[in-house]
């Protein structure tokens, strides 16, 4: 089969310069109804699903004025919530960065029993509902009934209804983000640079710092920013494991929920802050993306 296709290649190549011209001829006709319909459908879809609801939140915030905005984000409950969110999200991202890079290295460079299983397990957290994650963590770490809970409690570490549990829950739901960004880059790069560095005398740490880390830096940065965006917004799993005590185990998302439920003021204002951070993350991601390609 290879030979006939080789024989037909020259005519095909000769015809190639004509192809764009033919497409250009067809273009004016297609810009008509079909294209406009497609554009409208896409814009309408994104508009109704995303722009409209988010716009309404923004509108509410602007409508209630600057005074209300400052009050909403500067009260002691809000300050505590921001601090806790920063701690939880920061720790979760740190944990996922370290273990994410480690897991990606393991999956990219080693063949071992259970590798395929680990590869699948990495994706599990993103497909399982956060509420189930929360319940599972309570089962494992709950301080009266959990598997490890009582032992940890005796050792003086409370997991559930405390910060460690919230960090675990948040890390769980954002686990694949770093791995999935870093793994393809490692797979594509292969082992040769690492082996070259080895033959030049570099030990494992030197190879990681001087070769591996620079190779994956953009993918890693992209994964970290994605993780930040995801962890800041985490609600379901955290809600189950936190206990949701105002000023103590209440993150920003939990506070938004409480204020909205109780018809207290300040839910929209806090939402706007979260939206702003998310938007910033998206901007950073879009700036990182072209670099990540080369």
């Amino acid at each position: 089969m290879a030979e006939p296709s080789l024989l037909t290649q020259p005519p095909a190549r000769a015809a190639a310069p004509d192809a764009p011209r033919a497409r250009r001829h067809r273009n004016p006709r297609r810009v008509g109804a079909g294209r406009w319909a497609l554009r409208l459908a896409a814009l309408g879809y994104v508009g109704v699903l995303v722009a409209l609801p988010v716009g309404l939140v923004l509108w509410r915030t602007v409508d209630q004025g600057g005074r209300a905005f400052l009050d909403a984000i500067s009260g002691p409950e809000a300050i505590a919530a921001f601090r806790l969110t920063a701690i939880v999200a920061g720790s979760a991202v740190l944990v996922n960065t370290v273990f994410g890079v480690g897991t990606a290295l393991l999956l990219a460079r080693y063949r071992f029993r259970g590798r395929a299983l680990l590869d699948l397990a990495v994706d599990l957290p993103i497909s399982v509902s956060p509420i189930i994650v929360g319940l599972a963590l309570v089962l494992a770490f709950g301080w009266t009934t959990g598997w490890f809970g009582p032992a940890l409690q005796n050792a003086g570490l409370q997991v559930i209804f405390a910060t460690p549990g919230m960090v675990l829950a948040t890390a769980f739901v954002s686990l694949p983000l770093v791995v999935r960004e870093v793994l393809p880059v490692l797979t594509e790069t292969g082992l040769e640079q690492d082996q070259a560095a080895r033959s030049l005398g570099a030990n494992a740490r030197q190879r990681f710092v001087r070769i591996t880390l620079p190779t994956i830096r953009w993918a890693l940065a992209y994964g970290v920013v994605l993780s930040i965006a995801r962890t800041l917004g985490e609600f379901g799993a955290v809600r189950v494991v936190s206990g949701n005590v105002g000023g103590q185990t209440q993150t920003v998302t939990l506070l938004v929920d409480e204020r909205a439920e109780q018809f207290e003021p300040g839910a929209y204002q806090l939402s706007v802050v979260l939206i702003a951070v998310a938007a910033l993350c998206i901007v950073v991601i879009s700036l990182l993306r072209p670099h990540g390609k080369d």
Partner: protein
Amino acid sequence: MGIEARAITKRFGAFVALDEVNLAVASGQLTALLGPSGGGKSTLLRIIGGLEEADSGTVLIDGVEVSGIPPQRRNVGFVFQHYAAFKHLSVYRNVAFGLEIRKRGKAEIRRRVTELLELVHLEQFADRMPSQLSGGQRQRMALARALAVEPKVLLLDEPFGALDTKVRKELRDWLRRLHDEVHVTTVFVTHDQEEALEVSDSLVVINAGRIEQVGSPNELYDHPANEFVMGFLGPVTRLGGHLVRPHDIEVLTADSTGAVPATVRRLVRVGFQVRAELHLAEPAAAGTAAATGTGAGEPDPTDTAVQLTRGQADALDLQVGNRVWLRPSQHASVLAAR
């Protein structure tokens, strides 16, 4: 002795890549490991370099056993087929890498790297990134990088395999000249017999996990130990019950001692040479061939090919259908056919 491999065996699952291989490479020599792909030559090189571990057997470099010592402490230079350039580092930093790892002084590194970049003719590319270099330039950079740490041995795994024919030829000549200058014990893997014959001091033919023959390029070409080595190093044709190289056959227009009659069937001119396909008129062989009707896959034992220069062909005035007499030329390497 530069490198010694003793009874090296390596398996990948059920596949035996190397089967009790023994190899000795003299110091300062340029040795080629030649063989078909999957024959085990790259595996042997990687075991010498420590990038792969043998299932059994030992490797000695400069008389010191290195089995079990990780590659970073073996002091070998390794060059890969696909360059393995550090993509995020400039050409200068690539070459400096091994010296930086060894914590050499800034001034010493600068002096040494400049020297090496001159040696590989890349001095004006020091600040470029590897992606801005051509394949040949990248491979020269990789060579300079490997030489920077003054390795005891230099190992090259299909170093020119990813380059186009013209650059390959240039780099091949250049490697030969470079080796005459630096004299580091060098082993390179190739599946290209022309490359191996042209560049190496000593040639090791490896096939199916075993060493078929070791010797100088001329020795192996003229006195191949078996049919495989003969066939791998150059073209082979049959003349009666023997294997001969097609350019080692003399074509005569009259009968002579030791010559066999044949008929010219086809003449093909390829550039400076003429290839003649002939049919031997051996009564016995021809008879059986005609009776059985030779199958399509089986080479007809009464068919043979001769390679001539254009001048020779013109002088003989060869035409299709001519009757000629063939015999191996005086210095021909002849092997009995199985």
